[in-house]
């Protein structure tokens, strides 16, 4: 029972969706299951939120390292939860859109979310520099090819790239950086993308079949578990 029912559920739900692809009256099933998923995800968030609260409370009560910051996390969490769920300061009252502009909830988004998120993302610029440096030093053939292609693409997108090879005679204009850029993107790059995409398609099909047929059952757990 512990394992049979989950297996049957996976099997029936999965193959029903596959069959529904071929039947116009049933093809809405995919959309409906997506709604089911969002509803289940909300219930799961109670577990996730509960976990966040528990972990931080334990940290505080046991005075673990950096316990002071756990207080900050908890205060931030409950503060936003309260202004959001009770729609505090929402001009539309309890029926108003939760993230309507002008609400404290929206302000949190604008002044905390956006700057921190964008800054975290912009760290990428520094990390790209260090990754490129390392790729430069890697002395294997693959890394070299990767780096040459990357350099051509980067140069091709700048005026500097155009200047660099402007001296090449017209009869050999294929070797000018902007043309190489275009050529790389439309031929070898496209070829690699295709091989990867076809491979992924086959990988997903084979993996999905393993799961639906119960060959792969790690999500089902173990009896008595």
């Amino acid at each position: 029972m512990n394992r049979t029912l989950p297996f049957l559920l996976t099997f029936i739900v999965g193959f029903t969706i596959v069959i529904a692809t071929f039947s116009p009256p049933l093809d809405r099933l995919a959309v409906d299951t997506a709604v089911f998923f969002s509803i289940i995800a909300v219930f799961a968030m109670i577990l996730g939120g509960g976990n966040l609260v528990k972990i931080n409370l334990v940290k505080i009560t046991r005075r673990q390292r950096d316990w002071q910051f756990a207080i900050v996390t908890l205060v931030g969490f409950f503060f936003v939860l309260i202004i959001g769920l009770f729609k505090v300061g929402n001009p539309g009252g309890v029926t108003g859109q939760v993230d309507a502009p002008g609400t404290p909830f929206f302000d949190v988004y604008t002044y905390v979310f956006v700057p921190v998120g964008a800054t975290m993302y912009s760290l990428l610029a520094f990390f790209i520099a260090s990754a490129s440096y390392r790729a430069f030093r890697a002395k294997n053939r693959e890394a070299t090819i990767l780096l040459i292609a990357a350099s051509i693409i980067m140069l091709g997108a700048t005026p500097f790239g155009t200047m660099l090879t402007a001296w090449i005679p017209d009869s050999l204009d294929i070797f000018e950086v902007p043309n190489l850029h275009f050529f790389l993107m439309s031929s070898p790059n496209l070829a690699g993308q295709r091989a990867i995409m076809i491979g992924i398609a086959l990988g997903v099909i084979s993996y999905s079949l393993r799961v639906l047929l119960g060959v792969e059952r790690s999500h089902i757990g173990k009896d008595g578990g």
Binding site: D107, V108, A157, I174
Partner: protein, 217 residues
Amino acid sequence: MSLDIGVWIGALLTLGIFSFLYRDNPFYKLCESIFVGVSAGYWFCVFFFDNMVRKFYFGVFPSEAGIEPKYFLIVGAVLGALMLTRLIPSIGWISRWPLSFIVGATAGLYMMLFFVSNGLNQVADTMLPLYRETAGGDFDPAETLGTILVFIGTFTGLIYFFFSKEHKGLFGGAARVGIFFLMVTFGAAFGYTVMSRMSLLIGRMDFLFRDWLGLLG
């Protein structure tokens, strides 16, 4: 310099995150803790109102007359409620049911999605002649070379992904050509992303120097 408290909070948080590039420090920990707590609460609220209220509640009890109630959504809520059995260890295993439902649905959905968009259509798009002509009917060397490379790259790339044959001899040689194409593809993606990500950093600098400090016009 800005007098808006919101901009000040944003600027201090931005600096706090940047300080991590030097080393881990209490300022970064503070920003991290604020961000984690606030964002978890934020998404909880957004998902609650969007999924539970708009999709579920108004799906089952439509607010406007003439819309059919979707009673089947109650099954989704029951499955969701079963997730909460995890809170009681002795019956926690029941949560495998909604998980199995999701796993089945995802596997079924993606199988068809990838088969069509990533598989079949890509094969169809590769069937092009290896001899190309210009619009005027003359031999087009650049187009021809391009098509030949797409063909060779796709073909040898697929050889690289073969699992049930050892990469040795001619087959191994073809697989190495395949890796070459894959590396060019990765290089192209790398270069492309580098160019677009630099603008992110420029955007943050613009916020600090223009919006906060008012140093730029």
